[in-house]
Protein backbone atom coordinates (compact mmCIF):
# COMPACT_ATOMS: atom_id res chain seq x y z
CA UNK A 1 0.00 0.00 0.00
CA UNK A 2 2.80 2.37 0.99
CA UNK A 3 4.88 1.46 -2.08
CA UNK A 4 1.94 1.84 -4.43
CA UNK A 5 1.21 5.28 -3.01
CA UNK A 6 4.82 6.37 -3.52
CA UNK A 7 4.67 5.24 -7.15
CA UNK A 8 1.43 7.12 -7.64
CA UNK A 9 2.85 10.29 -6.06
CA UNK A 10 5.87 10.14 -8.36
CA UNK A 11 3.53 9.80 -11.33
CA UNK A 12 1.88 13.03 -10.33
CA UNK A 13 5.16 14.90 -10.35
CA UNK A 14 5.09 15.81 -14.03
CA UNK A 15 1.49 17.00 -13.85
CA UNK A 16 2.32 19.19 -10.86
CA UNK A 17 5.30 20.63 -12.70
CA UNK A 18 2.97 21.53 -15.55
CA UNK A 19 0.67 23.19 -13.00
CA UNK A 20 -2.24 20.96 -13.93
CA UNK A 21 -5.01 21.69 -11.36
CA UNK A 22 -6.43 18.19 -11.51
CA UNK A 23 -3.05 16.63 -10.77
CA UNK A 24 -2.43 19.10 -7.97
CA UNK A 25 -5.71 18.18 -6.34
CA UNK A 26 -4.90 14.48 -6.63
CA UNK A 27 -1.55 14.98 -4.95
CA UNK A 28 -3.15 17.01 -2.19
CA UNK A 29 -5.75 14.33 -1.51
CA UNK A 30 -3.06 11.67 -1.34
CA UNK A 31 -0.74 13.59 0.98
CA UNK A 32 -2.95 15.96 2.97
CA UNK A 33 -3.87 13.66 5.87
CA UNK A 34 -0.28 12.57 6.40
CA UNK A 35 1.07 16.09 6.21
CA UNK A 36 -1.62 17.32 8.57
CA UNK A 37 -0.29 14.73 11.06
CA UNK A 38 3.10 16.39 10.77
CA UNK A 39 1.60 19.83 11.19
CA UNK A 40 -0.34 18.72 14.28
CA UNK A 41 2.89 17.99 16.12
CA UNK A 42 4.26 21.45 15.34
CA UNK A 43 1.07 23.38 15.95
CA UNK A 44 -0.65 24.20 19.21
CA UNK A 45 -4.04 23.06 17.83
CA UNK A 46 -5.74 21.78 14.71
CA UNK A 47 -6.60 25.26 13.43
CA UNK A 48 -3.00 26.29 13.37
CA UNK A 49 -2.07 22.91 11.89
CA UNK A 50 -4.47 23.43 8.99
CA UNK A 51 -3.05 26.89 8.40
CA UNK A 52 0.39 25.33 8.19
CA UNK A 53 -0.93 22.68 5.83
CA UNK A 54 -2.47 25.33 3.61
CA UNK A 55 0.72 27.40 3.40
CA UNK A 56 2.83 24.27 3.02
CA UNK A 57 0.95 22.88 0.02
CA UNK A 58 0.96 26.24 -1.74
CA UNK A 59 4.73 26.16 -1.42
CA UNK A 60 4.89 22.58 -2.63
CA UNK A 61 3.02 23.40 -5.84
CA UNK A 62 4.99 26.56 -6.48
CA UNK A 63 8.39 25.02 -5.83
CA UNK A 64 7.82 21.60 -7.36
CA UNK A 65 9.82 22.66 -10.42
CA UNK A 66 12.86 22.96 -8.16
CA UNK A 67 12.60 19.33 -7.01
CA UNK A 68 15.74 17.60 -8.33
CA UNK A 69 14.54 14.02 -7.62
CA UNK A 70 17.63 13.37 -5.47
CA UNK A 71 15.38 11.91 -2.76
CA UNK A 72 11.80 10.74 -2.58
CA UNK A 73 9.06 13.14 -3.63
CA UNK A 74 7.15 12.44 -0.41
CA UNK A 75 10.25 13.20 1.68
CA UNK A 76 10.68 16.48 -0.18
CA UNK A 77 7.05 17.41 0.47
CA UNK A 78 7.45 16.56 4.15
CA UNK A 79 10.52 18.77 4.37
CA UNK A 80 8.67 21.68 2.75
CA UNK A 81 5.86 21.26 5.30
CA UNK A 82 8.29 21.22 8.21
CA UNK A 83 10.03 24.33 6.88
CA UNK A 84 6.64 26.01 6.68
CA UNK A 85 5.98 25.11 10.31
CA UNK A 86 9.32 26.63 11.24
CA UNK A 87 8.44 29.84 9.41
CA UNK A 88 5.14 30.04 11.25
CA UNK A 89 6.96 29.59 14.50
CA UNK A 90 9.45 32.32 13.60
CA UNK A 91 6.64 34.73 12.86
CA UNK A 92 4.94 34.05 16.14
CA UNK A 93 7.94 33.96 18.37
CA UNK A 94 11.01 35.97 17.70
CA UNK A 95 13.07 34.51 20.49
CA UNK A 96 13.39 31.14 22.03
CA UNK A 97 13.45 30.72 25.75
CA UNK A 98 17.11 30.01 26.30
CA UNK A 99 17.89 27.55 29.06
CA UNK A 100 21.25 27.29 30.72
CA UNK A 101 23.37 24.44 29.50
CA UNK A 102 23.93 23.46 33.12
CA UNK A 103 20.40 22.18 33.18
CA UNK A 104 20.94 19.94 30.19
CA UNK A 105 21.93 16.42 30.88
CA UNK A 106 21.14 12.96 29.51
CA UNK A 107 20.69 10.98 32.68
CA UNK A 108 18.70 7.75 32.97
CA UNK A 109 15.09 8.48 33.66
CA UNK A 110 12.11 6.52 34.86
CA UNK A 111 10.84 3.78 32.51
CA UNK A 112 7.43 4.48 31.04
CA UNK A 113 5.01 1.96 29.64
CA UNK A 114 3.45 3.77 26.68
CA UNK A 115 1.48 0.83 25.35
CA UNK A 116 -1.56 2.00 27.23
CA UNK A 117 -1.28 5.57 25.92
CA UNK A 118 -3.16 6.57 22.85
CA UNK A 119 -1.70 8.66 20.07
CA UNK A 120 -4.01 11.55 20.80
CA UNK A 121 -2.71 11.66 24.42
CA UNK A 122 0.89 11.85 23.25
CA UNK A 123 -0.05 14.48 20.70
CA UNK A 124 -1.81 16.50 23.37
CA UNK A 125 1.32 16.38 25.54
CA UNK A 126 3.46 17.73 22.73
CA UNK A 127 0.98 20.45 21.85
CA UNK A 128 0.97 21.59 25.45
CA UNK A 129 4.67 22.34 25.23
CA UNK A 130 5.72 25.90 24.55
CA UNK A 131 6.41 26.64 20.91
CA UNK A 132 10.19 26.54 21.21
CA UNK A 133 10.27 23.25 23.10
CA UNK A 134 7.73 21.70 20.78
CA UNK A 135 9.64 22.73 17.72
CA UNK A 136 13.01 21.43 18.83
CA UNK A 137 11.57 18.19 20.22
CA UNK A 138 9.72 17.50 16.95
CA UNK A 139 12.73 18.29 14.81
CA UNK A 140 15.19 16.29 16.85
CA UNK A 141 13.18 13.40 18.33
CA UNK A 142 10.72 12.69 15.51
CA UNK A 143 12.07 14.20 12.30
CA UNK A 144 15.66 13.21 13.02
CA UNK A 145 17.38 16.58 12.60
CA UNK A 146 20.72 17.03 14.29
CA UNK A 147 21.34 19.90 16.69
CA UNK A 148 23.54 21.51 14.09
CA UNK A 149 20.73 21.44 11.53
CA UNK A 150 18.22 22.73 14.06
CA UNK A 151 20.58 25.54 15.01
CA UNK A 152 20.97 26.52 11.35
CA UNK A 153 17.26 26.32 10.66
CA UNK A 154 16.23 28.33 13.70
CA UNK A 155 19.16 30.68 13.79
CA UNK A 156 20.24 29.65 17.26
CA UNK A 157 23.29 27.97 18.73
CA UNK A 158 23.60 24.20 19.08
CA UNK A 159 23.71 24.66 22.84
CA UNK A 160 20.40 26.46 22.78
CA UNK A 161 18.93 23.64 20.69
CA UNK A 162 20.16 21.06 23.22
CA UNK A 163 18.75 22.99 26.14
CA UNK A 164 15.39 23.34 24.45
CA UNK A 165 15.30 19.62 23.80
CA UNK A 166 16.25 18.78 27.36
CA UNK A 167 13.57 21.01 28.79
CA UNK A 168 10.99 19.53 26.43
CA UNK A 169 11.88 15.98 27.53
CA UNK A 170 11.71 16.90 31.19
CA UNK A 171 8.26 18.39 30.78
CA UNK A 172 7.02 15.41 28.78
CA UNK A 173 8.36 12.97 31.36
CA UNK A 174 6.50 14.83 34.05
CA UNK A 175 3.32 14.61 32.05
CA UNK A 176 3.85 10.90 31.39
CA UNK A 177 4.56 10.19 35.03
CA UNK A 178 1.40 11.99 35.95
CA UNK A 179 -0.58 10.04 33.37
CA UNK A 180 0.92 6.71 34.44
CA UNK A 181 0.10 7.47 38.03
CA UNK A 182 -3.49 8.03 37.10
CA UNK A 183 -3.52 4.89 35.03
CA UNK A 184 -1.83 2.94 37.83
CA UNK A 185 -4.43 4.10 40.29
CA UNK A 186 -7.23 3.24 37.86
CA UNK A 187 -5.77 -0.25 37.32
CA UNK A 188 -5.51 -1.05 41.06
CA UNK A 189 -9.04 0.04 41.81
Amino acid sequence: MKTSRQVLILDLLDGCRQEDPHTQELLYKLMASKMLGVCMRYARDQFQAEDMLHLGFVKVFKKVKDFREEGSFEGWIRRVIVNTAIEVYRKEQKHLNIVDLADVYDAPQQMFNMDDLEVKDLLAMIQELSAGYRLVFNMYAIEGYSHKEIAEQLGISEGASKSQLSRARTILRGKLAKTEGVNYENTNR
Binding site: A32, S33, M40, D106, M111, L172
Partner: protein
Amino acid sequence: MKTQTDSDFDKLFRDRLEDMELVPSQKVWANVSRDLSVPVKNKKGIPIVWLVAASISLLFVLSLLLIPGKKPIKLQASVQPSTEYKKSAIPVKAKRSLGRKLKGITFLNRLASMRLERDKHLKSYKITGKAIADNLKNLPLLTKVNLELPTVVLRQETVMMASIPSFIAMHVPVATKKINTHRITRVPATEADYQDSQTRIRSVGDLVNFVVRRVDHRDEKIIEFSNHDDGSSISGINLGLIKIRAKQNEIKPN
Protein backbone atom coordinates in the same frame (compact mmCIF):
# COMPACT_ATOMS: atom_id res chain seq x y z
CA MET B 1 12.93 0.63 38.82
CA LYS B 2 13.84 0.42 35.16
CA THR B 3 15.64 3.32 33.54
CA GLN B 4 15.14 4.73 30.05
CA THR B 5 17.62 6.77 28.00
CA ASP B 6 16.68 9.93 26.07
CA SER B 7 16.95 8.11 22.75
CA ASP B 8 14.55 5.43 23.93
CA PHE B 9 12.22 8.10 25.21
CA ASP B 10 12.31 9.86 21.84
CA LYS B 11 11.71 6.58 20.05
CA LEU B 12 8.52 6.03 21.99
CA PHE B 13 7.10 9.28 20.62
CA ARG B 14 8.53 8.75 17.14
CA ASP B 15 7.00 5.32 16.71
CA ARG B 16 3.59 6.54 17.70
CA LEU B 17 3.48 9.95 16.04
CA GLU B 18 5.66 9.67 12.95
CA ASP B 19 2.99 8.18 10.71
CA MET B 20 0.03 9.86 12.33
CA GLU B 21 -2.63 10.95 9.85
CA LEU B 22 -5.58 13.27 10.21
CA VAL B 23 -8.16 14.26 7.63
CA PRO B 24 -8.11 18.03 7.05
CA SER B 25 -11.28 20.04 6.59
CA GLN B 26 -12.54 20.89 3.11
CA LYS B 27 -11.64 24.56 3.39
CA VAL B 28 -7.92 23.78 3.32
CA TRP B 29 -7.91 22.66 -0.30
CA ALA B 30 -10.23 25.53 -1.21
CA ASN B 31 -7.70 27.97 0.22
CA VAL B 32 -4.80 26.22 -1.53
CA SER B 33 -6.64 26.21 -4.86
CA ARG B 34 -7.54 29.87 -4.47
CA ASP B 35 -3.94 30.87 -3.76
CA LEU B 36 -2.67 28.89 -6.75
CA SER B 37 -5.10 30.57 -9.13
CA VAL B 38 -4.14 34.09 -8.01
CA PRO B 39 -1.27 35.47 -10.09
CA VAL B 40 1.91 35.82 -8.15
CA LYS B 41 2.67 39.38 -7.13
CA ASN B 42 6.21 40.59 -7.25
CA LYS B 43 6.79 41.05 -3.55
CA LYS B 44 10.31 42.25 -4.14
CA GLY B 45 9.07 45.10 -6.30
CA ILE B 46 11.42 47.02 -8.50
CA PRO B 47 15.07 46.32 -7.71
CA ILE B 48 16.83 49.24 -6.05
CA VAL B 49 19.43 49.27 -8.83
CA TRP B 50 16.74 50.10 -11.34
CA LEU B 51 15.29 52.73 -9.05
CA VAL B 52 18.68 54.42 -8.74
CA ALA B 53 19.24 54.28 -12.50
CA ALA B 54 15.80 55.72 -13.16
CA SER B 55 16.38 58.52 -10.66
CA ILE B 56 19.69 59.47 -12.27
CA SER B 57 18.12 59.47 -15.71
CA LEU B 58 15.25 61.63 -14.46
CA LEU B 59 17.63 64.15 -12.90
CA PHE B 60 19.65 64.28 -16.10
CA VAL B 61 16.60 64.96 -18.21
CA LEU B 62 15.30 67.58 -15.78
CA SER B 63 18.66 69.31 -15.73
CA LEU B 64 18.61 69.53 -19.50
CA LEU B 65 15.13 70.98 -19.48
CA LEU B 66 15.37 73.34 -16.54
CA ILE B 67 18.90 74.78 -16.66
CA PRO B 68 18.54 78.27 -18.22
CA GLY B 69 20.60 79.28 -21.21
CA LYS B 70 20.51 75.92 -22.77
CA LYS B 71 18.42 75.20 -25.77
CA PRO B 72 15.59 72.89 -24.76
CA ILE B 73 15.20 69.62 -26.53
CA LYS B 74 12.61 69.84 -29.26
CA LEU B 75 10.69 66.64 -29.27
CA GLN B 76 8.83 67.58 -32.45
CA ALA B 77 11.75 68.78 -34.45
CA SER B 78 10.29 67.52 -37.70
CA VAL B 79 7.24 69.76 -37.38
CA GLN B 80 9.08 72.96 -36.46
CA PRO B 81 11.07 73.55 -39.65
CA SER B 82 8.09 73.09 -41.88
CA THR B 83 6.17 75.74 -39.94
CA GLU B 84 9.03 78.20 -40.14
CA TYR B 85 9.42 77.58 -43.81
CA LYS B 86 5.78 78.34 -44.45
CA LYS B 87 5.97 81.55 -42.46
CA SER B 88 9.03 82.78 -44.28
CA ALA B 89 7.98 81.60 -47.67
CA ILE B 90 4.91 83.76 -47.95
CA PRO B 91 6.51 87.17 -47.30
CA VAL B 92 9.44 86.41 -49.58
CA LYS B 93 7.05 85.61 -52.36
CA ALA B 94 5.19 88.81 -51.73
CA LYS B 95 8.40 90.79 -51.82
CA ARG B 96 9.37 89.25 -55.11
CA SER B 97 6.02 90.09 -56.55
CA LEU B 98 6.44 93.67 -55.45
CA GLY B 99 10.01 93.66 -56.62
CA ARG B 100 10.97 96.89 -54.93
CA LYS B 101 13.27 96.38 -52.00
CA LEU B 102 14.92 93.15 -53.04
CA LYS B 103 15.26 94.28 -56.58
CA GLY B 104 18.68 95.87 -56.17
CA ILE B 105 20.14 93.02 -54.14
CA THR B 106 19.02 90.36 -56.57
CA PHE B 107 20.18 92.46 -59.42
CA LEU B 108 23.67 92.82 -57.96
CA ASN B 109 23.84 89.11 -57.35
CA ARG B 110 22.95 88.43 -60.91
CA LEU B 111 25.34 91.04 -62.12
CA ALA B 112 28.15 89.31 -60.29
CA SER B 113 27.63 86.30 -62.50
CA MET B 114 28.02 88.29 -65.73
CA ARG B 115 31.13 89.16 -67.66
CA LEU B 116 31.78 91.77 -70.26
CA GLU B 117 34.10 90.51 -72.94
CA ARG B 118 35.53 92.30 -75.86
CA ASP B 119 35.38 90.64 -79.22
CA LYS B 120 38.54 91.67 -81.07
CA HIS B 121 37.36 90.55 -84.47
CA LEU B 122 34.00 92.20 -84.30
CA LYS B 123 35.32 95.06 -82.16
CA SER B 124 32.37 94.71 -79.84
CA TYR B 125 31.57 93.95 -76.21
CA LYS B 126 29.77 90.82 -75.29
CA ILE B 127 28.09 90.22 -71.97
CA THR B 128 28.33 86.59 -71.02
CA GLY B 129 27.69 84.44 -67.98
CA LYS B 130 26.33 81.03 -67.10
CA ALA B 131 23.58 82.39 -64.99
CA ILE B 132 22.31 84.82 -67.55
CA ALA B 133 19.74 82.48 -68.99
CA ASP B 134 18.34 81.75 -65.55
CA ASN B 135 18.46 85.37 -64.60
CA LEU B 136 16.52 86.33 -67.65
CA LYS B 137 13.70 84.07 -66.54
CA ASN B 138 13.74 85.08 -62.91
CA LEU B 139 14.29 88.80 -63.12
CA PRO B 140 11.55 90.62 -61.21
CA LEU B 141 11.46 93.49 -63.64
CA LEU B 142 11.35 91.29 -66.66
CA THR B 143 8.16 91.71 -68.56
CA LYS B 144 9.22 90.76 -71.98
CA VAL B 145 12.12 88.74 -73.26
CA ASN B 146 13.48 89.84 -76.56
CA LEU B 147 14.27 86.73 -78.50
CA GLU B 148 15.64 88.54 -81.49
CA LEU B 149 19.26 89.40 -81.95
CA PRO B 150 19.30 93.16 -82.21
CA THR B 151 22.52 95.00 -82.61
CA VAL B 152 23.47 98.40 -81.41
CA VAL B 153 26.17 100.33 -83.16
CA LEU B 154 28.15 102.45 -80.80
CA ARG B 155 31.13 104.17 -82.31
CA GLN B 156 31.97 101.32 -84.61
CA GLU B 157 31.47 98.80 -81.83
CA THR B 158 28.62 96.38 -81.76
CA VAL B 159 27.09 94.92 -78.64
CA MET B 160 25.45 91.57 -79.07
CA MET B 161 22.16 92.15 -77.35
CA ALA B 162 21.38 88.50 -77.27
CA SER B 163 23.72 88.28 -74.32
CA ILE B 164 22.49 91.39 -72.59
CA PRO B 165 19.84 90.87 -69.95
CA SER B 166 16.49 91.97 -71.10
CA PHE B 167 16.11 94.51 -68.30
CA ILE B 168 18.99 96.39 -69.91
CA ALA B 169 17.41 96.07 -73.27
CA MET B 170 14.14 97.40 -71.92
CA HIS B 171 15.76 100.57 -70.75
CA VAL B 172 17.59 100.98 -74.01
CA PRO B 173 14.69 101.09 -76.39
CA VAL B 174 16.91 102.26 -79.20
CA ALA B 175 18.81 99.03 -79.01
CA THR B 176 15.84 97.09 -80.21
CA LYS B 177 16.13 98.66 -83.63
CA LYS B 178 18.82 98.40 -86.21
CA ILE B 179 20.39 101.78 -86.69
CA ASN B 180 22.15 102.89 -89.77
CA THR B 181 25.67 103.74 -88.80
CA HIS B 182 26.12 106.20 -91.63
CA ARG B 183 23.10 108.12 -90.45
CA ILE B 184 24.46 108.48 -86.97
CA THR B 185 27.77 109.80 -88.07
CA ARG B 186 26.32 112.23 -90.59
CA VAL B 187 23.40 113.68 -88.66
CA PRO B 188 24.37 116.24 -85.98
CA ALA B 189 23.55 115.29 -82.46
CA THR B 190 20.32 116.55 -80.97
CA GLU B 191 19.02 116.80 -77.39
CA ALA B 192 17.45 113.40 -77.78
CA ASP B 193 20.74 112.02 -78.92
CA TYR B 194 22.39 113.49 -75.81
CA GLN B 195 19.82 111.76 -73.62
CA ASP B 196 20.50 108.57 -75.45
CA SER B 197 24.20 109.00 -74.95
CA GLN B 198 23.63 109.21 -71.22
CA THR B 199 21.90 105.86 -71.22
CA ARG B 200 24.17 104.13 -73.65
CA ILE B 201 26.76 101.77 -72.23
CA ARG B 202 30.10 102.48 -73.70
CA SER B 203 32.38 101.25 -70.97
CA VAL B 204 32.45 99.34 -67.76
CA GLY B 205 31.96 102.59 -65.89
CA ASP B 206 28.74 103.23 -67.78
CA LEU B 207 27.53 99.80 -66.94
CA VAL B 208 28.26 100.31 -63.26
CA ASN B 209 26.61 103.68 -63.31
CA PHE B 210 23.56 102.21 -64.91
CA VAL B 211 23.38 99.51 -62.32
CA VAL B 212 23.92 101.93 -59.46
CA ARG B 213 21.19 104.18 -60.76
CA ARG B 214 18.82 101.33 -60.68
CA VAL B 215 19.69 100.53 -57.10
CA ASP B 216 20.61 103.83 -55.52
CA HIS B 217 17.99 106.51 -56.04
CA ARG B 218 19.87 109.28 -54.20
CA ASP B 219 21.25 112.28 -55.95
CA GLU B 220 24.77 111.30 -54.99
CA LYS B 221 25.17 107.65 -55.77
CA ILE B 222 27.19 105.23 -53.74
CA ILE B 223 29.68 105.12 -56.58
CA GLU B 224 29.85 106.94 -59.86
CA PHE B 225 32.09 106.62 -62.88
CA SER B 226 32.83 109.30 -65.36
CA ASN B 227 34.08 108.83 -68.91
CA HIS B 228 36.98 110.65 -70.44
CA ASP B 229 39.42 110.12 -73.25
CA ASP B 230 41.58 107.65 -71.35
CA GLY B 231 38.60 105.55 -70.35
CA SER B 232 36.40 105.64 -67.24
CA SER B 233 37.32 106.43 -63.65
CA ILE B 234 35.58 106.83 -60.32
CA SER B 235 34.18 110.29 -59.96
CA GLY B 236 32.41 110.00 -56.64
CA ILE B 237 31.77 107.81 -53.66
CA ASN B 238 28.96 108.30 -51.15
CA LEU B 239 29.12 106.04 -48.11
CA GLY B 240 26.70 108.09 -46.04
CA LEU B 241 29.00 109.93 -43.62
CA ILE B 242 31.92 109.77 -45.99
CA LYS B 243 31.45 111.47 -49.31
CA ILE B 244 34.19 111.78 -51.87
CA ARG B 245 33.61 113.56 -55.10
CA ALA B 246 36.14 114.33 -57.79
CA LYS B 247 36.17 117.55 -59.66
CA GLN B 248 33.81 117.05 -62.57
CA ASN B 249 34.26 118.41 -66.05
CA GLU B 250 31.12 119.76 -67.47
CA ILE B 251 29.80 117.57 -70.15
CA LYS B 252 28.82 119.41 -73.15
CA PRO B 253 26.87 118.04 -75.96
CA ASN B 254 28.69 117.88 -79.22
